[in-house]
């Protein structure tokens, strides 16, 4: 697998003196669906701001597709790494949804035809085409979130970072978001999800990195991390519901299986009832 982002011995201290990152080492591969998990103040957002050069490491280095972020501009790196920020209000300024999506494309110097083609394509993909002439501020919060993702996807970056996309979203919106993430990985995009919504990440992700107090306290597959109470406690997080049920009822020990979703748990219970492995 091709290495997309390489983080080596990165330290970062904010001007107020708060040490946000302490010796971070991380490899992120092309096409991977990675979760960066941690409670508030763990350093997640500080880390992702290093991926497109918004912050430069004070010690160590970050390489994006082999390019050292200290030697490249934010605009150059943003073509490879698109960050969808937590609050859509922080980026919307255009009068029309169409212009909002076209903003990045204009900045990157795309031709008029390419802009028309890409904006139309991405608005249709996110069911926003009918709102193209509306103001972004007239949209519902779910639509705003989709527009924020669409405005990044329009310029087709290889890595897409979603910062706390599930905050304030209902279950239906969350399921839609899951579908969009699947769609992105089908296009071999790297998806990095930054969240503390532990229930959302039980399905559909390849790897979880757990952060606490500016360090990585755990890293592994969802079935390893979400069953590791020690790591979750370090990060001030609670085990998700299904692993908690499986652990408390000792189901996971009896059959040595680790269900993460309702279906997996149901299958485990039914197979035990039927007495077959």
């Amino acid at each position: 697998m091709e290495l997309a982002i390489e983080v080596r011995n990165v330290w970062y201290t904010y001007p107020g003196g708060v040490v946000a990152l302490r010796n971070i080492n991380l490899d992120i591969y092309l096409g991977e669906k990675l979760v960066i998990l941690g409670s508030n103040g763990a350093g997640k957002s500080t880390l992702i701001k290093h991926f497109n050069g918004l912050l430069k490491p004070q010690k160590g280095y970050v390489k994006v597709f082999g390019v050292d972020t200290r030697k490249a501009s934010v605009a150059e790196l943003s073509r490879k790494v698109g960050i969808v920020f937590q609050n859509p209000y922080h980026q919307f300024f255009s009068e029309r949804v169409w212009d909002e999506v076209a903003f990045a494309l204009k900045n990157f110097g795309y031709s008029e035809d390419a802009i028309n083609y890409r904006v139309t394509k991405v608005l249709r993909l996110f069911d926003l085409y009918d709102y193209a002439d509306r103001s972004p501020f007239e949209l519902s919060s779910g639509e705003m979130r989709r527009l924020a993702i669409a405005s990044i996807l329009a310029y087709d970056p290889d890595v897409i970072v979603l910062d706390e996309p599930t905050v304030g979203q209902d279950k239906i919106q969350k399921e839609k978001l899951r579908e969009y993430i699947k769609l992105l990985t089908l296009q071999n995009k790297t998806v990095i999800l930054v969240t503390h919504d532990i229930e959302f990440i039980t399905e559909g992700f390849d790897r979880i990195v757990v952060m606490a107090k500016g360090t990585i306290v755990g890293e592994g597959k969802p079935k390893e991390i979400l069953y590791d109470e020690e790591i979750l406690v370090k990060a001030n997080l609670m085990m998700p519901q299904i692993p908690r049920i499986a652990t408390c009822s000792k189901l996971s020990k009896i059959r040595d299986e680790r269900p993460l979703t309702e279906n997996e748990l149901l299958f485990l219970v039914l197979s035990m009832l039927r007495g077959r492995k």
Binding site: G17, A75, Y89, Q91, F93, F108
Partner: protein, 263 residues
């Protein structure tokens, strides 16, 4: 722009720290602030500014978190340089080589810097809620005092929003540092518009939050923790006032002329 906003954020944020000024009664600090800031408007003597700078630097080094204050002031240096150039060019044009105007522009900027410095020292070491209590005890109606305090309280919040907006737009390829002056001004719009919209929305949220907690239903207000002036606070204020008075007397009496003649 990011550096300036980060400085403004630090300038208006109070943190509980084990520093002398952070624990001084806010009323005392308010008096000291007035004693420092008002003479800046009244005096035109460069020596007065030098003595005042010494006073502020000594307070920063020994009584406050010097690192934070230095960071806050560092961010406005570029802004001060820009103001200096504007004042100089407007006053000196068309004769752009004029030492007198250069000195006058420097004095104006230095006075502005000293004002910012004294207010920074006050806001970084004073809890904003205590400030509301100070104003209330000065017989200012609480709803007016609270409105004043709220406007200060939201300065760092807006500064933080602007930093986040700036990051979000840079992530979409916005490059403020490229292009001529007109292009650069035009490029500020994607930062200013979301900042205005967020601020307007926030006004609505704050108003609703205040109303839902019965703000303004009573004009009499009590406070959970009452302010108390300690002896050490009074000593601090008296020393500062004596210092400022001494400078004033020194610069306005024969002693000053004598020393000047001596040199």
């Amino acid at each position: 722009m990011k550096g300036l906003m980060e400085s403004i954020y630090e300038m208006f944020i109070f943190r509980k720290e084990d520093k002398f000024l952070n624990n001084v009664d806010p009323r005392v600090k308010f008096v000291v602030l007035l004693a420092t800031a008002v003479p800046i408007f009244l005096s035109f003597n460069p020596l007065f500014y030098v003595f005042l700078t010494i006073l502020l630097v000594l307070q920063t080094l020994f009584l406050a978190n010097a690192r934070r204050i230095a960071f806050s002031l560092k961010g406005i240096v570029k802004l001060l340089i820009m103001f200096y150039v504007i004042i100089y060019v407007f006053n000196a044009y068309p004769n752009l080589l004029n030492i007198e105007i250069a000195a006058m522009a420097f004095m104006s900027i230095f006075r502005f810097f000293l004002l910012v410095y004294s207010f920074t020292l006050f806001f970084t070491t004073t809890c904003i809620d205590d400030l509301a209590q100070v104003l209330y005890k000065l017989k200012i109606p609480y709803h007016i005092a609270y409105t004043l305090v709220l406007s200060v309280r939201f300065v760092p919040t807006v500064a933080k929003d602007i930093v986040q907006i700036y990051d979000a737009q840079r992530s979409r390829g916005l490059e403020l540092e490229k292009g001529n002056i007109f292009e650069r001004i035009r490029k500020i719009l994607p930062i200013l518009i979301p900042a205005f919209i967020i601020s307007i929305l926030r006004v609505d949220f704050v108003a609703e939050a205040l109303e839902s907690r019965a703000f303004g239903s009573s004009y009499k207000r009590t406070f959970m923790v009452d302010l108390r002036i300690k002896l050490v606070d009074i000593i601090y204020a008296v020393l500062i006032l004596i210092y400022i008075l001494a400078i004033y007397l020194f610069l306005n009496t024969k002693a000053y002329s004598f020393v000047l003649g001596w040199f």
